[in-house]
């Protein structure tokens, strides 16, 4: 034969439909930029076409501006990095006035990540963000590994997360997607608690608390001693949590996050049960990573004969059992 035949299952990449529905809206692709890795978007305009994103999640917003932690705030680890930025942000007012208009005009899905320093300020933040036009989702960050007050219990005790989610859901008409902490012992219990409180979905996972030491200086590499681990190192843990939650709560929309660097990584998360995914750390080395990953995902789905996102989400089969052992 003169030309290699197309793979049996083959589709033209252009025929793959990347649209996905999440929290009542349709996104052009399942790929969003992750919170804290995209700031408020403007910086990326120099490097990439922002309209190629399915959506973006802003840096976490709190009612008042925050200035963040002392330095050093970041360090690299094997296939990952630690950060203790400290949830620095411009605050609700400056966000609505100065940052949101730019994002709204992009025509992609806009998710605003938010948090408070205590119960009341979470609710206040959700309430005050609700007036913002062009916000599709409020992503509630209950992990907050880097702030001292409140953070821990919100993110690790299901009853506390339930109460907090309920109060925020009642404070806004926007869908609330809760971003869960992998530091929780029982991720399914957490997902269930926030789902029952009215969350429109969950984002999985935030960074995992970690540490690195500079043995020459006899000091931690971060001023806060501990920081959040992100990058490919955590991908297996993130995938496992997505899969556990998808199995236990098949109706709950999941946004998968953790170490995504390629179209294949993104497809792993979709197959584990996520309907959207976020890309974080990969954006630092490659500001145009999401456009590349989108192209890779499209080609890979075409190659594998998967015509649409729905046909990928949660399609995992078990490995066929071995023939019985008769001794």
């Amino acid at each position: 034969m003169s030309a290699a035949p197309p793979p049996a299952a083959g589709l033209a990449p252009a025929d793959v439909d990347l649209r996905t529905r999440f929290a009542g809206k349709t996104l052009a692709t399942p790929l969003l930029a992750a919170s804290g890795c995209f700031a408020y978007g403007q910086q990326f305009a120099a490097f990439t076409d922002l309209r190629r994103l399915g959506g973006l999640v802003t840096k976490g917003i709190s009612p008042a501006p925050r200035f963040g932690n002392p330095l050093p705030r970041i360090c690299e680890t094997a296939a990952g990095m630690l950060n203790s930025i400290g949830l620095e942000n411009v605050g609700v007012d400056a966000f609505l006035a100065d940052k949101l208009p730019f994002l709204r005009d992009l025509g992609i899905s806009v998710w605003v990540n938010f948090f408070g320093t205590d119960f009341e300020s979470y609710v206040e933040c959700a309430e005050r963000l609700s007036v913002g036009e062009g916000i599709d989702v409020l992503e509630m960050n209950i992990s907050c590994p880097n702030i001292k007050k409140g953070g821990i219990e919100f993110g690790t005790v299901p009853e506390v997360a339930h109460r907090l989610t309920k109060a925020c859901v009642e404070a806004t008409l926007l869908p609330i997607v809760v971003k869960l902490s992998p530091n929780a012992g029982d991720i399914v219990g957490m997902a269930q608690a926030v789902a029952e409180a009215g969350a429109a979905g969950v984002s999985l996972i935030n960074t995992i608390t970690g540490m690195a030491i500079d043995v020459r200086k006899r000091r931690p590499r971060l001023a806060t001693t501990y920081g959040g681990l992100s990058g490919p190192a955590i991908k297996p843990i993130a995938l496992r949590m997505v899969h556990q939650v998808a199995k236990a709560l098949p109706e709950l929309p999941i946004c998968g996050i953790g170490g995504i660097m390629s179209g294949e990584d993104a497809l792993e998360f979709l197959m584990a049960g996520a309907r959207t995914v976020q890309v974080g750390t990969a954006l630092f080395a490659e500001p145009g990573a999401i456009a590349r990953i989108t192209d890779e995902l499209r080609s890979l789905m075409a190659e594998l004969g998967i015509p649409a996102i729905d046909a990928a989400v949660g399609v995992l089969e078990a490995i066929p059992p071995e023939p019985a052992y008769a001794g």
Partner: protein, 268 residues
């Protein structure tokens, strides 16, 4: 921002001894290299797989037209070790030029360029520009290192006619002692002569701290080119905070700097 993210290849690597090397990069992509201001930097990353995730920051040493730029680096950890082994033709990705560089020398005011070790590149670039503009003596380099191996590319200063003085901790070349010794003496001379000067410094943090103290005490305008751990280099990760005085406790090395007014920096 007039920076780009582009593919480049290693054109050559020149080893200077003592772990120092110059990497020349070439790109066919449209990149705003030509407009680079001394003090600006680039983020560079090779094909390093998933182990070394983030690019590394390097001051631009020199640009040549729109397609060539060079950096001068010293082997420090894994990333610089990989770069030090890069062969011609090896693919790299570059983001840049980034940050805000040094102001050009003003007429009637000499810029003292205080360089320590691997802090040389932005200051050598500054000296090169001054020479290219026909004003080699608008700057004066004060260059210090631990020993002979730490003072590289001095021949370029000779070629350009840039005034300079050297210092080494071990006395192997130039004055024995810290480069700040040269600085203190030079400030004293300038004061005595009523000469207008300003200080531009780049090097290890302890050196910069000393330069800052000296500059502030002498009432001389002092600009420090700082290094902080960076993940992105373009204002997104917020990793590269620099503690400052002023309306906010931190500014960012990559977008507000790397060049900061010494008065602004909140150091002990």
């Amino acid at each position: 921002m007039s920076a780009a993210h582009f593919a480049a290849t290693v054109e050559s690597r020149r080893d200077l001894g003592g772990g120092y090397f110059i990497l020349s990069l070439h790109t066919d992509a449209p990149a705003p290299i030509e407009d680079t201001v001394p003090g600006q930097f680039v983020m560079v990353r090779g094909d390093w797989g998933r182990d070394l995730l983030n690019p590394r920051a390097f001051s631009v040493l020199e640009v040549d037209g729109a397609q060539r730029l060079a950096i001068l680096a010293k082997i420090f950890g894994r990333g610089t070790a990989r770069l030090a082994a890069a062969e011609p033709g090896e693919p790299m990705t570059v983001t840049g030029p980034l940050g805000r560089g040094f102001a050009a020398p003003r007429a009637g005011c000499t810029q003292l360029l205080v360089a320590g070790g691997v802090g040389l590149p932005p200051l050598l670039f500054q000296a090169r520009r001054a020479a290219e503009n026909g004003r080699p003596k608008a700057v004066e380099m004060l260059y210090g290192g631990r020993g002979r191996d730490d003072l590289v590319l001095v021949d370029q200063l000779d070629a350009w006619g840039t005034p300079y003085a050297l210092a080494t901790d071990d006395g192997s070349v130039g004055r024995e002692g810290r480069v700040t010794l040269l600085l203190e003496e030079r400030i004293a001379t300038a004061k005595a002569a009523g000469e207008a000067i300003e200080i531009l410094a780049c090097g290890p943090t302890p050196m910069l701290a000393a330069v800052r103290t000296i500059g502030l005490a002498a009432g001389v305008a002092t600009y420090l080119c700082l290094e902080e751990n960076m993940a992105c280099g373009f204002g997104v990760c917020l990793g590269c905070a620099v503690p400052v005085h002023g309306p906010r406790p931190y500014r960012y090395c990559c977008t507000d700097g790397p060049v900061f007014d010494a008065e602004e920096v909140r150091w002990p």
